[in-house]
Every structure is written in structure tokens, then in C-alpha cells.
């Protein structure tokens, strides 16, 4: 919870208005719920995607649409950590460091990424391409350590794998998520058995890296 966070006033800021497509999408979302307000979080997510952040102009626009005060909107924005009041990078890298991920090297993975990207957790790189954030459990602990980059999950991430992902993103190449995607094998007993060999070598690699890092 963002205790003590302040409503982000930004005087000279441009106005915000939904694109016609997003406005239409919002209309469809609103129609699904007995109370329009239930569309507020999806609306904030849409606006964040469009404007790069939930700015005060965004909050004022949404307050007008929903017929509530900007402070009401702010109350919601400040509650959910996925809603950002300042723009994050084009590729927002979220590293889980809750317990299951920490046990399997999330700490060294985070340090590795900070170095590789030249960007500390909680910051956005000057060129706006990357930002890094440490986050709580992503609900993918069986694939620890894991990352989320924008909407995509990456599981069992080794430092080497992280380098490959970053290199591809830097070149503007698409990167396929790794883990519980429809296309990936399930991680039940059978799936896990097949994966165990690959995983063991990954674990050894990250242990070696950890040693090297001291």
C-alpha cells in the first residue's frame, strides 16, 4: 500500500482523452457490471497503456467519465501497485523476490539484471527503454525464479536466459513468454519429469553464477 503517497499534480501537463477505440472498449466493459464503477480498474489499465502512466490528467478524465471525484480515482490508483503514476520503461521488468523465488536465486537474478540494464530497481532507464521493479509473488512459484516483462511471464530464469531476453528486446525482436502458456507443457508430475534434466542444469548454472558473484 502506498501510504503517504500524494496525488500527482503536474500543472503543465497535456490533456488526456481516450482514443475512440479505447472509449468504445470502455463502453463494452461498463455494460458488463451492475455498477459502472467496476469498470474503473480496467479503464485505468487502458489509460495507462495509452498514456504510459496514470497522470493527473488521466485521473481527471476518468473521474468525469465515472461521475466520481479525482480523489476517489486516486484512492484506487494508489492502492494497486500495477497502476503507475510515472511512466515506466517500454519494457517494464518485474522481478519476483518473494520466498519461493528468493530460495532459487531471485536476489542474484535481480542484481544481474540491474547491472545488465544499467538501471536500479524502482527506476526507469534514461532512454526510457527499460525499467526494473521488484514485486511480490507473481503466482508462478513452481517456475521460480520468475519475471514478468509487461504482460508476459518468464519462468526458471537463469542469468544467461535473462541476457538473451534483454538482448532480443534491445534489438526490438519479439520474445516468447516461457512457462505456463497455452503452448508450454504442463508442469504436473509428467511434465516436470521431462523438464527436470534441463532444470537441474539451470540450477547448477545459477548456483555457479551465485558463487561467482560472491
Amino acid at each position: 500500500m502506498a501510504l503517504g503517497a500524494r496525488f500527482p499534480h503536474s500543472p503543465g501537463e497535456e490533456r488526456f482523452e481516450f482514443t475512440p477505440e479505447n472509449r468504445a472498449e470502455l463502453g463494452r466493459i461498463m455494460a458488463k457490471y451492475p455498477a459502472r464503477r467496476s469498470a474503473l480498474i480496467p479503464a485505468l489499465q487502458l489509460a495507462q497503456k495509452q498514456a504510459g502512466a496514470v497522470t493527473s490528467a488521466v485521473m481527471q478524465h476518468l473521474a468525469a467519465i465515472f461521475g466520481i471525484s479525482p480523489m476517489d480515482v486516486w484512492g484506487v490508483v494508489s492502492f494497486y501497485s500495477m497502476l503507475k503514476t510515472r511512466p515506466v520503461g517500454k519494457h517494464h521488468v518485474m522481478v519476483c523476490d518473494n520466498l519461493s523465488c528468493a530460495l532459487l536465486g531471485a536476489g542474484s537474478l535481480l542484481r544481474h539484471l540491474e547491472q545488465r540494464l544499467g538501471c536500479r530497481a524502482g527506476h526507469t532507464r534514461a532512454d526510457g527503454k527499460f525499467s526494473v521493479e521488484r514485486v511480490e509473488c507473481l503466482g508462478a512459484c513452481g517456475g521460480a525464479p520468475c519475471l514478468q516483462i509487461n504482460e508476459d511471464y518468464f519462468e526458471r530464469v537463469t542469468p544467461a536466459m535473462a541476457d538473451e531476453i534483454v538482448a532480443a528486446l534491445e534489438k526490438g525482436e519479439p520474445v516468447a513468454p516461457v512457462g505456463a502458456d497455452e503452448a508450454a507443457p504442463p508442469r504436473d508430475g509428467a511434465g516436470a519429469a521431462q523438464e527436470s534434466a534441463a532444470q537441474e542444469s539451470a540450477a547448477q548454472e545459477s548456483a555457479a553464477q551465485e558463487k561467482a558473484a560472491g
Binding site: 480498474i41 480496467p42 465515472f66 503466482g139 512459484c141 504482460e151
Partner: protein, 416 residues
């Protein structure tokens, strides 16, 4: 007794077509609603679920049929809130259920709505979950197109609508109970709240009967399977759907491949971050079983099914510190004991771990614990107290050693 091994909710996980409507139908899907809609009395469906012994898989393990029977029949509209928040650290099952078999969940939702007389269901999916959201949205579209949702489903006269949902558009503030959600819930209306895995079991109970379901598991109060989410130092972390009543050692050593690199087991958190930690000795000597009641008897809980396995290299102060930070982050701040308590607990434990512990820190922790229990709007505060209370009690020497030596005796194996 012999435990019967049979997969229920993950039975189609190996079949990549199962996430589509055609694949789900080909694998026997949407037969349960054909069997009951307009044919079985709703109250008999509630009785069926009661007889199956199905308990909630979201955390509290409350009997599902009994929960349904608390909803006043005369009040309308009523809602079903499907809990797909998967917020408990260590848990990663509902995400897979939504991605791999979304129609199973939808069919379960229709069964629940029919039994309780509900016309609208909302599937709450956490904001980070994009792939599950897309999978559920796509499946909902398919189900509507085929007439499995909407008005007059399969000509039965019964209809219900299901929507993916991201909350009421408010801060996530738990509400004081009573009134209970069964009477005043979502949008102020009577609401059944069920977990994704709980609901995914329903089509199978309808198809195969209560007796079949109750025959899997260890006794009449612990029936069916659980999706055990094994993470941490097991050799093969992953999702294991196994009957309730297997021992913790069987789960780790026979199913999850034992311990990584042959290390010794030190501790297990058996039911997500809120479940009190068990020591290796407790697990071994008590032959602790992984069903709801056995875990409660062992002083912990089945919770959300998240099984976090830790080997001898793990530092228990560090583990408690990580979890404490989660509770601090999740506290909504309405209750001062929770807001202040989770903050202090996290600060003190992480200070002890960093070697900056003070002589009286452990006594302070012990004194915060009772205040955090039983005094708040929801049980997040109690969960935090249960978590660190168990670590502090069972690994007290390790906490003391941190303070005495002014550093982590295990060398802070997992630096932040």
C-alpha cells in the same frame, strides 16, 4: 487404508486442445450441465456437493455445499464471486486452471449458479494475470456462442451470465463481518465466494457422483484431490494433483523428486505463506499428512495448497523476513494493529537478519504476536502473526544466533 490415485481437475492438462471449446467437449466436457440443468432439483445439487465432502480450495477449507446453503433463497439478485486472485505466496494453481482448462471452470460456475439460483457470476482475476484473463475471456465467448451461457441454457429454462472481473473499482478493503457475504456481498447482494479450483471440481462430482469423489482422499472430511503447488528446494518443483491425505514426505520424496542436490530437508510451509512452518522433524516424526484436518492437528493448515520446501541451506530468519514484507505490502491499512504490526514485524525481522538486531528485538516480536490475532476486520493480520509466530518459536535459536553474532550465521544465502 488405501488412497486412490486419480486426477480430477488437471486430468486434461496434457491435452493442449482442452482449452478450446471443441477440445473440452471432445474430452467429455459440458456433460455435467446436460445432466442436471432442468432435470435435477437445485437443492439436490447442493445435497450432492455436501455429500461429496468438497471443501474450499482457496484457503479456509470450508465445506462448499454448506456454504451454499447459507444463501437466503428469497433474496435476489444473488451473485457468485469466483476467486482467481491467487494472492497467497507459494500458490500457482488457479492460473494454470484458467489457462489450461477454462471451460471446466465455466461449467463448474454454471453448476454452482444452478444449485444456488444465481444469475450472474464474476470471475475476479488479479491484475497481473494477462494470459489467464485472455484464456477466460476467449472461453466465455465460445461458451456464449454455443449456448452454454446466457439465457435458457440448453433449453433448460435456466440461464446465467458470467463475466471476467477486476474488482468493484474500489480500494481493496475487506469489509467487517457480519453481515457475511452470503447475505451482503458483492454490490451489497447475497454472494457466494468460491475459489477457482473448488469450482473446477464440480463438473466431475456431477458426472461421477458424490461417492466417487469421497472415495478419493483419506476420510469423509478430506475428500478428493488438491493441486499441491510445490516450490523452493524440491528437485522437481511444480504442480502435483494428488489425493488428500498423502504424507508430506511422500509428496516431496516420491512425487516432487526429493530434495535438490540431495540436501537435507529443513522446513516446509504446507499451505501458502499464512500456514505456520513445519520443521523437518515434525514432518518426519509426525508423518504429517497433507489433508486439511491432519495439517490443522499438526498446528498448521492446508490453506491454499502452496507447499514451500526449504533445505538445510535456507535461513529461517530470512524466510520469515521475506514473508513479513509481503504481509506489510498487502495490509490494506484499515486496522491499526495490522497496519502497524505488519510494518514493525517486517522491519524487526529484516533488521535481525541483516545483523542489526537489538537485544530486546525477539522479546518485542513475541509481544506483538498476540495483539495481531483476533482483533482485525480480516484475518490477514492473524495470518502474519501465525507465520512469524511459528518461525520464531520453532527456530528461536537461529533468531538468537543472528542477534548474538550480529550477522546471519548462514551467510544470508539469498541476498536481496
Amino acid at each position: 487404508m488405501a488412497i486412490r490415485f486419480e486426477k480430477i481437475v488437471t486430468g486434461r492438462f496434457g491435452n493442449p486442445e482442452a482449452s478450446t471449446l471443441a477440445g473440452y467437449e471432445a474430452a467429455g466436457g459440458y456433460q455435467a450441465i446436460r445432466k442436471i440443468l432442468g432435470k435435477a432439483e437445485p437443492k439436490n445439487v447442493i445435497e450432492l456437493v455436501k455429500a461429496s465432502g468438497l471443501r474450499g480450495r482457496g484457503g479456509a477449507g470450508f465445506p462448499c455445499g454448506l456454504k451454499w446453503s447459507f444463501v437466503p433463497q428469497s433474496l435476489n439478485p444473488k451473485y457468485l464471486a469466483v476467486n482467481g486472485d491467487e494472492g497467497e505466496p507459494g500458490t500457482f494453481k488457479d492460473r494454470e486452471l484458467m489457462i489450461r482448462d477454462p471451460h471446466q471452470l465455466i461449467e463448474g460456475i454454471v453448476v454452482a449458479c444452478y444449485a444456488v439460483g444465481i444469475a450472474k457470476a464474476y470471475v475476479y482475476i488479479r491484475g497481473e494475470f494477462d494470459a489467464p484473463w485472455r484464456a477466460v475471456e476467449r472461453a466465455l465467448g465460445e461458451a456464449y456462442a454455443k449456448g452454454y451461457l446466457g439465457e435458457n441454457i440448453l433449453g433448460s429454462g435456466f440461464g446465467c451470465d458470467v463475466y471476467a472481473h477486476r474488482g468493484e473499482g474500489k480500494r481493496g478493503h475487506p469489509r467487517l463481518k457480519p453481515p457475511f457475504p452470503a447475505v451482503v456481498g458483492l454490490y451489497g447482494k447475497p454472494t457466494v465466494i468460491n475459489n477457482v479450483e473448488t469450482l473446477s471440481n464440480l463438473p466431475h462430482i456431477v458426472n461421477n457422483g458424490a461417492e466417487w469423489f469421497a472415495g478419493i482422499g483419506i476420510d469423509e472430511k478430506n475428500t478428493g484431490t488438491r493441486m499441491y503447488c510445490v516450490s523452493g528446494h524440491a528437485a522437481r518443483p511444480g504442480l502435483y494433483e494428488l489425493p488428500l491425505g498423502l504424507t508430506c514426505e511422500e509428496l516431496i520424496y516420491e512425487h516432487a523428486g526429493g530434495m535438490r542436490n540431495g540436501k537435507a530437508l529443513k522446513a516446509v510451509i504446507p499451505g501458502g505463506a499464512s500456514a505456520p512452518v513445519l520443521t523437518a522433524q515434525e514432518v518426519r516424526e509426525g508423518k504429517v499428512r497433507m489433508d486439511f484436518d491432519s495439517l490443522a492437528k499438526a498446528g498448521s493448515m492446508g490453506g491454499s495448497g502452496g507447499v514451500i520446501v526449504m533445505d538445510e541451506t535456507a535461513c529461517m530468519v530470512q524466510a520469515a523476513g521475506r514473508l513479513a514484507r509481503f504481509f506489510e505490502h498487502e495490509s490494506c491499512g484499515q486496522c491499526s494493529v495490522c497496519r502497524e504490526g505488519t510494518g514493525w514485524v517486517s522491519e524487526i525481522i529484516n533488521r535481525v537478519e541483516a545483523g542489526r538486531g537489538r537485544a530486546d528485538d525477539l522479546a518485542t516480536l513475541a509481544s506483538i504476536d498476540p495483539n495481531m490475532r483476533g482483533n482485525t476486520i480480516c484475518v490477514l493480520s492473524d495470518a502474519c502473526a501465525m507465520m512469524f509466530g511459528a518461525f520464531l518459536k520453532k527456530f528461536h535459536r537461529e533468531f538468537e544466533a543472528h542477534v548474538e553474532q550480529g550477522r546471519c550465521p548462514l551467510g544470508s544465502p539469498y541476498p536481496a
